[in-house]
């Protein structure tokens, strides 16, 4: 009997499937469980003119700094302990992101749900009266066909956030694309995968299928292989964001990143040269050296 197919890939193989101009959704949340190994590979690549859709953290910071982003769809960009992402701030203040779509967080969620359900839009109240609708005049309102005693309510027709590709990072996956999160929050990674034509999952560890629910409640199996095109094992691949319980955020490294991003061109160049020019193995080695020197 044949089993489902093996979808294991390398980081470079994933990035090779990406094309200029694509719309890429990045899972996780702010500085939490981001597929950073894949983001770093895009940072190093020749890709350009990307549309990024993200609950933004350093993923947005890195890729805007590298000039990869033609259009950014976000509701916030933050590093939590460093509230404002310096690379994102710089890009916005210098006007280097050609197109910007700032949504309310709930609208962002609803847009992903619409895309995951193959709907053109879903209605909600968020956005009404705010400048989200002023700065995005292409987002329309609709009148409810029903009157529940409050008249025919006006609602925002939140457009589907359809993605070409989704990139997410999970704690464990099998070779077929079933995957679990072991931390407190699933974020929206299943929605990202379902909103996309193709989804790539990086993970801390590839285990056999039975191992996914061996000592973990089955409810933690967030991703099913139907939603997934490729699996990449990238230990410490969410660094420097959280990947609870495998590791927490590397606050010291994040401070160094933020200082370089918010500093002079030379500061950033030095950070880039030290951490971001080589492949993922070189990055992890440079991080290990950094941690040793800080200890």
């Amino acid at each position: 009997m044949k089993g489902p197919r093996d979808k294991r890939m390398s980081i470079d193989e994933v990035v090779d499937t990406l094309e200029d101009g694509m719309t890429i959704g990045i899972g996780g949340w702010g500085p939490r469980r981001k597929p950073m190994a894949l983001v770093r590979a895009i940072y190093r690549s020749d890709l350009k003119d990307l549309t990024l859709v993200s609950w933004g953290g350093a993923d947005v910071g890195l890729l805007t700094r590298a000039g990869k982003v033609r259009k950014l769809v976000y509701a916030f960009v933050s590093l939590d302990s460093v509230p404002l992402e310096p690379n994102f701030q710089k890009a916005r203040q210098e006007g280097t992101i050609p197109e910007v779509v700032e949504l309310d967080e709930g609208m962002f969620n609803t847009g992903l749900q619409a895309a995951a359900q193959r709907l053109p839009f879903l209605p909600m109240r968020a956005g009404l009266g705010s400048d989200v609708l002023v700065n995005n005049p292409w987002i329309k309102t609709i009148e409810s066909p029903y009157d529940e005693g409050f008249g025919h309510e006006t609602l925002v027709a939140v457009p589907a956030l359809r993605l070409d590709v989704a990139l997410v990072h999970m704690n464990r996956a099998d070779q077929h694309g079933n995957a679990t999160y072991l931390g407190p929050d699933p974020y929206f990674d299943d929605l990202f995968c379902m909103a996309a034509d193709r989804a790539y999952v990086s993970c801390e560890q590839v285990v056999d299928t039975a191992g996914l629910s061996h000592d973990t409640p089955v409810q933690r199996l967030l991703l099913n292989r139907m939603m997934v095109s490729g699996v990449v094992e990238t230990p410490n691949g969410a660094h420097f964001t959280t990947c609870t319980p495998d590791y927490e955020r590397d606050e010291r490294f994040q401070r160094a990143y933020a200082a370089a991003a918010g500093g002079s061109e030379e500061d950033w160049q030095a950070f880039h040269d030290r951490f971001l020019t080589g492949d993922e193995a070189a990055y992890q080695a440079a991080v290990a050296a950094f941690q040793e020197e800080q200890a």
């Binding site: 916005r92 203040q93 210098e94 968020a126 956005g127 009404l128 009266g129 400048d131 409050f150």
Partner: protein, 260 residues
């Protein structure tokens, strides 16, 4: 030691924030920032034990731990996606920050200047547009100044009552309180504008006006504006001994050099 001279502005703010949540009943209290977290937990330990609180990440807390302490007992799961469900459900009162707030109760946390190329990019709108047309929303301003209280915000993230009404979204718009380091306001001035409800002890109405870049309505004469109540002995004990023994609140509202 005399209690009245010992009471700091931070303590007064904590009690004022607690009062903003005291009549909410059994709803999810979502504080953003240190003093809001302190005030909400103070309310839960005193005036409104039914409040539902979280660790700010994914857990509903059954106990009331000190600021930034780990959860001792958990009563539920509230990952980000479920927060949006509660926003739409409506049983929530969020107290957000405000980089700018205007006379009409609109709030900005998105950016300063022109949206296309801002002078200063801030967080982004986060959940402010959705919060303000779905559930009760209050604001916390640790440094009341003309740069925060403005005639019109640069970008409307949180929606005030007039704009909500104009957009047909008045039904669940409920801007409840604005608590600052100088006083307590609401948006029930003429045409739903900012109104001063009380000034903190030692603060005058004129000081609030000078620290505001927009008109602040006062009902009657300045002398009619009450003084914000000081915390009770029980509340002071809870603040100092239980919730914030390390004095983290003074990072947001500094203690005066010398007692007033």
């Amino acid at each position: 030691m005399s209690e009245t001279t010992d009471i700091t502005t931070a303590d007064v703010c904590a009690a004022a924030i607690a009062d903003a949540f005291k009549d909410d009943g059994e709803i999810f209290a979502s504080p953003m920032g240190m003093l809001p977290m302190l005030g909400v937990r103070l309310a839960k330990l005193t005036s409104n034990p039914d409040l539902v609180i979280s660790d700010g990440e994914a857990l509903f807390l059954a106990g009331v731990p000190p600021l930034f302490a780990k959860a001792d007992k958990v009563e539920g799961w509230i990952p980000f996606r479920k927060v949006f469900d509660v926003v739409a459900y409506g049983k929530r009162h969020v107290m957000m920050g405000a980089t700018q707030i205007d006379r009409h109760g609109n709030q900005n946390i998105s950016a300063i200047g022109d949206f296309a190329q801002p002078k200063r990019q801030l967080l982004g709108s986060r959940g402010a547009p959705g919060n303000t047309v779905n559930n009760r929303t209050s604001y916390w301003v640790p440094r009341h100044s003309p740069r925060v209280f403005v005639e019109a915000v640069d970008i409307v993230s949180g929606v005030g009552p007039s704009r909500a009404a104009a957009a047909g979204a008045a039904r669940f718009n409920d801007i409840h309180r604005v608590v600052s380091n100088l006083g307590v306001l609401d948006v029930n001035g003429p045409e739903r504008t900012l109104r001063l409800l009380s000034v903190h002890p030692g603060v005058t109405v004129d000081q609030v006006r000078e620290a505001s870049g927009c008109e602040i309505h006062v009902d009657g004469a300045d002398s009619d504006v009450p003084v914000t109540r000081v915390p009770t002995t029980e509340e002071l004990l809870v603040i100092r001994e239980v919730l914030d023994p390390k004095g983290l609140r003074f990072k947001e509202v500094p203690r005066p050099e010398a007692p007033r």
